[in-house]
Structure formats: C-alpha cells, structure tokens
C-alpha cells in the first residue's frame, strides 16, 4: 500500500494542496466564518465546532474530487443551550455555510416549532409535516424546542407521527435538506434518550454555553451601536450592576434579556425626554441612555432571589 502510494505523492500532493486553497477561496466560507466571529460575542466552543465542520466538509469535497470514497456526510445537528444564547442566529449562518459548500442547494432557513408540524386531529399531522418539509427542501429546517414533539405522558399524541416522517426524510433525502434541532440541554437529552432513532441520525451535537457578564456587556454595546444609542459612563456602570443582578434572577435569557432590558431603558429615556419637552433637546440627549433609565428597573428594587424581573 505504502510503496504504491509513495510514488506519485510528491507531484499529486502539491496539486491537492493547491486545490484545497482554491476550494476554500471559491466557496467564500472563510467570509461567513469571519463574520460569525465578528458579529457573535463569545461562544468559543460553538465557533470551534463550526470551523471543524466546515473543514470536514471541505476535505470531504476534496476527497470526492480525487476519487476517494466519502459518502454523503451526515449533517443533521442538534443545538442545545439556554434561551438567548444565539442558537437561531448560528443556525442561519450554518445554512449559509452549507450553501456555500454546496451541501444544500438554496441555503434558506425554515424555523418551525411543534405547532407547525403536529396536527390537531387524526390525519392532520402527516400533510402538515410534509408541507413544512417541502418548504424546507434545499435548505435547513430548524426545529425550535424539538422535545415538545414527543409527549410521553400522552401515548396518542400525534407528535410521534411527525417524528417518524421527519426520521424518514432525514434518512432518505439527506441531499435535499438538513435538520437542526434546538432546545434546552437537559430536555433535549431526555428527548434523544426516548427517541434513539433521532439521536443516531444526528451527527453533530453542539452545546451553547451561557454568556459571561463581560460578554453580555459587549453584546449590550453591540446592540446599542446597532440601535444608534450610547451609554453615559454612569449608565455603563449601572448596566454592569444590572447584569450581575439580573443573571441571578429566574427566567434569565442571556442576550434576549439584555435586549429587553435595553428596550425598556429606551422607553424610560423617551418618557424622560418627553417630560422636559419645554426645554431644548439636543442630538446628544436623544442618543444617550442615562443611569436613571437603567436604574429604574425593578431588578434594582428587589432583594436578590426575588421573583418576577421587569
């Protein structure tokens, strides 16, 4: 084997090295990954996995090109993590990466939940699920909170039917669409345990970690920049304190909680400015959030561990 192989290696090896570079450039996958790096804060393990997958797919294509057996790679994935950790955003990027590499033809993302797949009466589920699958062909089907498909407490639940159709398509039409399941980690694990067929068809399990307070601050600044707002230095300190307190409260949804908090601050800023409508308002007033806008949050009123954040 080795002796036969060794002969043409020098010439062909060089050519292949060039090929990989060209393929990488032509696919423009680098740009997507770079943008992922730039626009998404933190999430180091997720980005690492996505880079690994992209590399695997590129190498697979190259193997195919030189005639090595590669077999269609399994691409179905599961994204687990707490709410607001960027699962949907990453799924959109993933669709783009797969499209650039030619593993899905269109690269669009169809996001659905249980309601879109499962019907209300006998015979309703199959057409509904097929309809969604038809729409997702050539792209990525993103099933949010996939564990709701399976309700063990009700054995006549139609979710099982949807799962069976999904499994069939995931197996037989691997070229046509990629399925990404998403949800909380522990509940997804229960779901996979009770649906071993589903678990074995999913090649990549990616876990999204929670954001650290520092990352949340960076995210907040990124969001504010997009909305064209600024924080005054005192407001910045208030926001840091807010994040510390809010993280300890229940129903904390990472980046989504931050977005909501900022939206509410904008609301307070607006009514604060409206109060003094007699005086003059400058451009700077319009774009600056003050500490008072953030400190008015109910999070600051409650003792730590209290219920019902605002």
């Amino acid at each position: 084997m080795n002796a036969v192989d060794a002969q043409p290696r020098s010439a062909a090896g060089e050519e292949r090295a060039l090929d990989l570079e060209a393929l990488y450039r032509d696919s423009h996958v680098g740009e997507v990954i770079e943008r992922l790096d730039r626009e998404l804060v933190g999430l180091a393990p997720v980005k690492g996995r996505i880079r690994d997958i992209a590399a695997l797919l590129l190498i697979d294509k190259l193997r195919h090109a030189v005639g090595l057996s590669s077999g269609a790679p399994a691409l179905h994935m599961s994204f687990t993590g707490n709410p607001g950790t960027g699962k949907t955003t990453v799924a959109v990027r993933m669709a783009e990466i797969l499209h650039r590499l030619g593993y899905v033809r269109k690269g669009h993302l169809v996001a659905v939940t249980r309601d879109d797949l499962v019907g209300q009466y006998i015979g309703h589920t199959a057409p509904k699920t097929r309809e969604v699958l038809k729409r997702a062909m050539g792209g990525v089907l993103f099933i949010d909170e996939a564990y709701y498909l399976y309700r063990p407490e009700n054995e006549r639940d139609y979710g099982q039917e949807a799962i069976e159709i999904l499994l069939q398509v995931m197996e037989n039409q691997r070229d046509d669409l990629v399925v990404i399941l998403a949800g909380y980690k522990d509940r997804m694990e229960t779901f996979f345990r009770s649906n071993p067929g589903m678990s074995s068809r999913i090649a990549h399990h990616i876990d999204f970690p929670d954001y650290t307070p520092g990352e949340l601050i960076t995210i907040a600044h990124l969001m504010l920049k997009q909305m064209q707002y600024r924080l005054s230095p005192e407001a910045d300190a208030a926001l840091r304190e807010y994040i510390g307190k809010r993280r300890a409260l229940p129903h904390f949804a990472n980046a989504r909680s931050i977005r909501n908090a900022l939206d509410r601050s904008r609301l307070r800023q607006a009514s604060r400015l409206f109060e003094r409508r007699g005086g003059s308002i400058e451009r700077q007033d319009l774009e600056t959030l003050e500490a008072a806008d953030i400190r008015a949050s109910r999070v600051f009123l409650q003792p730590p561990g209290g219920e019902g954040p605002s």
């Binding site: 669009h108 038809k134 729409r135 062909m137 050539g138 046509d176 669409l177």
Partner: protein, 138 residues
C-alpha cells in the same frame, strides 16, 4: 395516440432529472408551481383537477418533485401536468405547462359526424377513454 398538450409534448417523455431542471427554472423565475391531473384527454378540457394548492412558498425543486411523485402514486395512470404560474403584474398567467405523467395506453379519438340542417355535416372528436366513467378510464 399520444396526446400533445403543453410544452415538450412532441419530445420523448421527460426524465425525472429533466423535470427537476424545468421546475428549477420556473422557481428561479419566481413562478408558483402547481400540479394538476385528469383522465379526460380532450384538448378542450382546460381545467384539470388540482392536486393540492399551488406551491407559492417553495424554494427548491425537490419539494415540488415530492408533490409530483405523490400525485403519481395516487393517480398512476392519469395525465399529470406541472404548471408554472407567473404572478407578475400584467402577466398573471401560466408561463410554462408540461405533462409529466400519462397513461400507458392512450386509445385516441373517434371522429364524430353530426348531420345538420340542409345535409351539412358537423365534425367533432371524442376520446375513446371517456366512454367509461371518470376514474375508470385508464
């Protein structure tokens, strides 16, 4: 007698790969694809039965093809055609229509003569298939 309606009907039957490409072409133009079937081959039979509603939100030909195949499974020996509807303002009509499935045997048409007043003759055609009731024709 092989009936010739719609595009490509003088060519040999399209293969699935060719059908996929035609559908892809329609989708690339933003047309909505629909599937229709009938077992009355008369050329004036314009309104065929719809197999499901037109697919306005499908992005990829594989989705349409699954619908075509579902129709073929349900009506293996009917005529099935694929229509591409262009909803652009001012156009609003079918841009492409071609047959994707036909019965194994097409018996053709009889020429019917009707004697009118003053010994005039009116000619018309009638498909042999329509002698039997709908659903039992092929």
């Amino acid at each position: 007698m092989r009936i010739t309606q719609g595009a490509f009907s003088f060519l040999p039957d399209l293969t699935d790969a060719q059908i996929l490409k035609q559908i892809e072409y329609g989708l690339a133009n933003g047309w909505a694809i629909s599937v229709e079937y009938t077992d009355d081959p008369h050329p004036r039979n314009t309104y065929w039965e719809m197999f499901g509603i037109p697919m306005f939100d499908i992005r990829d030909a594989a989705g349409v093809m699954s619908e075509v195949n579902a129709c073929r499974r349900t009506f293996p020996s009917h005529y099935i055609k694929v229509n591409a509807f262009d909803s652009a303002r001012g156009r609003e009509s079918v841009r492409l229509s071609f047959i994707v499935n036909r019965p194994a045997e097409e018996p053709g048409y009889a020429l019917v003569r009707q004697e009118g007043p003053g010994r005039t003759i009116h000619y018309t055609t009638r498909a042999y298939a329509t002698e039997r009731p709908e659903g039992a024709r092929y």
